[in-house]
């Protein structure tokens, strides 16, 4: 397994390089530059700005310059946020996103799996329908609708929690955004879990276990859970990636200083270095989470060996 992990990590390098190159070219192909503003800067000021950020060099030289500093762990200077380096910006946004998105994924996993099991065991009963209804609401309503509803109820109506903002990992500010992400994620996890549990419960080895007279609790938790989790594990990777790196709507609704907003603003501002830095980060997160998912398969399914 170690050599497998090592090989996978090595394979990341060409992926990363390809992603950076494509992204680099796309950014430079997009019309409008980082210093195009409502107030057009004079030719002299533009030249000064471009020189300051090395944009006066030929594209290939800029590219090599970027790769070189990247190898030294330096993501460069942000064009938009002049007082911060991209390392600073990413360093500040990542913990916020990891806390909100990561926390939400863990919570949704527990709730989603539990709901999925309950629904599967009571298939086509009123409980099943209720659970599925809840899941479908989470899936059907976009977060820009659900988010403001949560704010209206819990912040403006009941005044229990703040309507938004961020204060150094204070739990009060994390509850609503996490609740929103959990609500969205459990719909997917719950549905997948229900479907796969129903399928597993219908399989031969479960019938055997029942025939042996094992209590349902044991059957579900000891025998059915592991194989039923396989599809959930498959969806959890992409869900976690999007909850951590692309929770733009959630971050906008609650005014959170996370990665999603940074990447969207970076692209809108043509902040090339910031976008590239975030793309590198997202690529790394994606590769790592996908690897974890693959390793989790091996843990859940004895047939899979690396």
């Amino acid at each position: 397994m170690w050599s497998y992990t090592f090989r996978r990590v090595l394979a990341t390098i060409p992926t990363l390089l390809a992603v950076i190159t494509v992204c680099y070219l796309l950014l430079h192909l997009t019309p409008g530059g980082p210093f195009d503003g409502e107030r057009k800067v004079s030719a002299a000021v533009l030249a000064n700005l471009q020189a300051k950020y090395h944009l006066d060099l030929p594209l290939w030289q800029q590219y090599l310059y970027y790769i070189k500093s990247l190898l030294q762990g330096d993501l460069g200077a942000s064009f938009r946020y002049a007082d911060w380096s991209v390392n600073d910006l990413v360093g500040k946004a990542l913990p916020v996103s990891a806390a909100i998105g990561g926390g939400a994924i863990v919570i949704s996993l527990f709730i989603g799996v539990a709901l999925g099991i309950v629904a599967a065991l009571r298939q086509n009963s009123i409980i099943d329908y209720l659970v599925m209804l809840l899941g479908n609401i989470g899936g059907a309503f976009p977060s820009f609708v659900l988010g403001p509803v949560l704010v209206m109820v819990f912040a403006i109506g009941l005044e229990w929690l703040p309507a938004g903002g961020w204060d150094d990992f204070s739990l009060r500010y994390m509850v609503l955004p996490m609740a929103l992400l959990v609500f969205i994620n459990i719909s997917t996890i719950g549905r997948v879990m229900r479907g796969s549990m129903i399928e597993v419960l219908g399989s031969n080895f479960i019938r055997t276990a029942r025939a042996k007279g094992l209590p349902m609790r044991t059957i579900v938790l000891r025998h059915a859970l592991k194989p039923a989790l396989m599809p959930v594990v498959s969806v959890i990777g992409p869900l976690a990636i999007s909850s951590i790196t692309a929770a733009v709507v959630t971050e906008t609704v609650f005014g959170l200083p996370g990665l999603g907003k940074l990447i969207v603003n970076g692209a809108a501002n043509r902040d090339y270095t910031l976008v590239l830095g975030l793309v590198v980060l997202v690529t790394v997160i994606t590769v790592v989470l996908n690897l974890l998912v693959d390793l989790a398969y091996a843990l859940l399914d004895p047939k899979i060996r690396y």
């Binding site: 503003g37 409502e38 800067v41 403001p148 005044e159 961020w166 940074l262």
Partner: protein, 539 residues
């Protein structure tokens, strides 16, 4: 310059009389009878994350707002836009192109050291230097002697026309008479800078714990994309007139989220209401809605080089048929007023011009416009291409304009919604036919708006040029007779606007919600409110 000596002397005398100013400290005036709250803390949304807290790099509303509280220039503007003394207690125009500012001796940096004339010299030189790459270098720098050449790298920063005559006297040279100098130096980009701190920390000097500033407030905390917090600066020379103890600036971009935070009590100041909600909130919060016009113009740029639009008759017809009254009252419906000139109401240095047809009944305007189109050989069904940047507000206005052109002139408009940077690029490159545009004054003088329609100006997206008007502007710029200058500028604007280079539409207002307990909010024509002038009323 082509003044003769006697004119120069007369002009100086007039200027002296005009510019003489007393050094009275004018600060947050809390009206008698107003009870202040024990907790003097304000939270205001500034709309986005400041790009920098280095005054010379400030460009956006948030950066300008925050740095204006952290730093104080020679002068400042109060909540009504009046120029008040800042670090300078008095100033004089000693010749058409020389200003002398007397600095107060009790102005201090937040570390307790004195603010001196050399701090201004250093700050201004750093502002125009090419390696600083300040986006405003070419906007304000051109008014200081050699500023333009320094930014272009043709002269060293030391050549800048600013000199510390002694520790508390600053002399400023301008390349031509700049009558609005006292208002210009209120801008944060022309604040003094702490050389020792900048030398010590480099780019990091703007971080909490490192920054030294001379304004009414000092930097306490800065969490990127979350908040900036400042506290009263105990070393500030006029600290006894500063009421607020703490200001928190939020970077909330989403207008709906802004209002939600306001309603839940976590924000005292909504920067901008969501499109189409002004009436609703006006009814809901009558005591908290604030709306004042400011020096800003919404207009549509017409590409004067476009094959169809190069005919002035076509441009005139397009402008004539847009009903600004309906646009203001029904479409945007947020208290803006119709505009028919490149100059908006309240601008110093030129009168607002208008068109004769502005007062005509619409039927007559349409008839005339149709005639013009016919003369220009433009058939009904001709296609126009209109570009705007994606936003509900701009879309609403664009649809209205397109429907006016369609219903009144039979012209078909193709609306193109572009991402902001793409629109900017197209506009700057004149790669458009008709495009949404807007401008907010950088300082209160007609020249800031004239830039939009002057020959070869960076800000002229219409690419129009009227050589005769240009000569009048040059003449006006060179004179020190303010009345003459104003007359020449007004004449030039009228002349240019009769070429229909663009379609002026509305004068901006700032409709927003500010809690009724926030005192000191005035009607500032630049929409700039300093923390120094604000206070919290007992509630």
């Amino acid at each position: 310059m082509h003044h003769n000596k006697s004119l120069r002397i007369t002009a100086s005398a007039v200027a002296l009389a005009l510019a003489a100013c007393s050094g009275l400290a004018l600060a947050a005036q809390v009206p008698a009878g107003v009870k202040l709250a024990a907790k003097q803390e304000l939270t205001r949304n500034t709309g986005s994350e400041p790009e920098s807290l280095d005054p010379v790099l400030a460009e956006s509303v948030p950066a300008n707002t925050i740095t204006a509280d952290l730093f104080e220039g020679l002068t400042a503007t109060d909540s009504f836009g009046k120029v008040v003394p800042g670090v300078a207690e008095s100033w004089k125009q000693t010749s058409p192109t020389t200003w002398v500012f007397k600095l107060r001796k009790n102005a201090k940096w937040s570390d307790g050291s004195a603010v001196t004339a050399s701090d201004f010299v250093y700050g201004w030189q750093r502002f125009v230097e090419p390696k600083t790459a300040s986006p405003y270098a070419s906007t304000y720098g051109i008014f200081i002697l050699n500023g333009k050449e320094i930014t272009e790298g043709k002269k060293p920063a030391s050549a800048l026309g600013v000199k510390a005559v002694d520790k508390y006297t600053l002399e400023v040279q301008t390349p031509y008479p700049v009558p609005f100098m006292p208002s210009l130096v209120a801008n944060t980009q022309l604040a003094p800078l702490p050389k020792a701190t900048i030398d010590k920390f480099g780019k990091d000097w703007t971080k909490p714990g490192k920054m030294v500033s001379n304004g009414a407030f000092a930097l306490k905390d800065w969490q990127v994309n979350s908040k900036v917090v400042v506290e009263k600066n105990a070393q500030y020379w006029d600290v006894k007139n500063v009421q607020l103890g703490k200001i928190t600036y939020l970077p909330i971009e989403d207008h709906n989220a802004d209002v939600k935070l306001y309603e839940s009590g976590e924000n005292d100041w909504v920067l901008e209401l969501p499109s189409g909600t002004y009436d609703k909130y006006k009814t809901q919060y009558p005591k908290e809605i604030r709306n004042a016009p400011f020096l800003g113009l919404r207009y549509y740029s017409l590409n004067n080089k476009d094959p169809l639009l190069k005919d002035v008759r076509v441009r005139k017809a397009l402008s004539m048929v847009i009903d600004r009254d309906i646009l203001a009252k029904k479409v945007t419906a947020d208290g803006q007023s119709p505009a028919y000139s490149a100059i908006v109401a309240g601008t110093a240095g030129a009168d607002v011009t208008s068109y004769d047809w502005a007062k005509w009944p619409m039927a007559k305007r349409v008839e005339e416009a149709k005639k013009l189109l016919a003369q220009a050989g433009v058939q009904p069904g001709t296609k126009l291409k209109f570009a705007y940047n994606t936003s509900d507000y701009h879309k609403k206005m664009a649809i209205f304009a397109a429907s006016e052109w369609k219903s009144k002139l039979g012209l078909n408009t193709e609306l193109e919604s572009l991402e902001f940077k793409v629109l900017l690029k197209k506009r700057h490159d004149a790669d458009y036919q008709i495009a949404r545009n807007g401008w907010v004054a950088d300082y209160n003088d007609a020249t800031t708006f004239l830039a939009l329609v002057q020959c070869d100006n960076d800000q002229n997206d219409n690419k129009n040029c009227n050589a005769k008007a240009e000569a009048l502007i040059k003449q006006g710029s060179d004179t020190t007779d303010q009345a003459k200058r104003k007359q020449l500028f007004t004449q030039a604007v009228k002349m240019i606007m009769d070429d229909y280079p663009m379609i002026p539409l509305l004068q901006y207002t700032a409709p927003r919600l500010v809690k009724s307990y926030v005192g000191g909010y005035g009607k500032n024509p630049m929409d700039r409110y300093r923390g120094k002038d604000l206070y919290i009323i007992q509630h």
